[in-house]
Symmetry: C2
Subunit: 149 residues, 2 copies
Amino acid sequence: MNIGDASKATGISVKMLRYYEEIGLVRPALRAYSGYRVYSEQNIATLRFVRRARDLGFQVKQIASLLDLWQNGSRASADVKSLALAHVRELEERRRQLDEMIATLEHLAHHCHGDDRPDCPILQGLSADDPHPSRAARRKAPRPTFAAP
Amino acid sequence: MNIGDASKATGISVKMLRYYEEIGLVRPALRAYSGYRVYSEQNIATLRFVRRARDLGFQVKQIASLLDLWQNGSRASADVKSLALAHVRELEERRRQLDEMIATLEHLAHHCHGDDRPDCPILQGLSADDPHPSRAARRKAPRPTFAAP
DNA sequence: CTTGACCCTCCAATCATGGGAAGGTGCAGA
DNA sequence: TCTGCACCTTCCCATGATTGGAGGGTCAAG
């Protein structure tokens, strides 16, 4: 099995297969006499594991840990679970940030008539101190200033 | 106002202030005789606009468009609105992907006893064809294979 | 033997950001 | 005035995951 077939079998691009090998995430593939990389079924299984972890948003370093645990029969499932749950918390934090951005933007867009007139609450919101004033009465909060007397 | 003050006033790091100038997102700051960059209130207002747009997840190219619209009195608010709404849709797509990852991972973690035993449904899920089988009966779908008949 | 589809390595770019070196500037205090 | 420190300048490099391309070798079918 050449690298192109491995790519199709795993859903990982040829470029990334070589990259994962280069950074040591997976062990170097065997080589044919021609110099071509040769992949076994076992290699493919490992790479599929990698792709699925990547699809779940794990970073390469975390995938390396997961691979270690996966290939180490004596691991404790608690280790895996805590790694997975820590990752869930990180994903949830990212989702929370996205939610906030979406809410603010929708709020701004909602107040924009969206015609050919030039005045636009969205731009005004971006110029204002608080792009989402309805969220809280933060106007009195001292904003950072450079010319403090 | 030197670059350090501008950084404090806008919440943009010194490094990024120079970078935004270099890539042409904002016009080059004036220079003092010493070569130091000098920022006016107007510059600060522009940079604050940039930072807020960045906080809303806009990319630099999009911020450039927003800046154009902001500084162009004859723009139509519809242009701004469509740009903002397109961005909202993109953010929502990213949130949808996050939701999916979180759901899958929580599903896997839920079935993991998380003790010191080595068998772990999370790792099994990552090795399996479908890491979240409960989601649908996809097992019969022909998965990509390299060794067709 | 040619052709086209593969494969190889090496280098570069992306995007937004941070780190650091080497050297100049400005200001306060001894 | 000298010294020290905080600040500024430019230039180069690194990150993380991924893609692109150049320049060249390999393989299989025609």
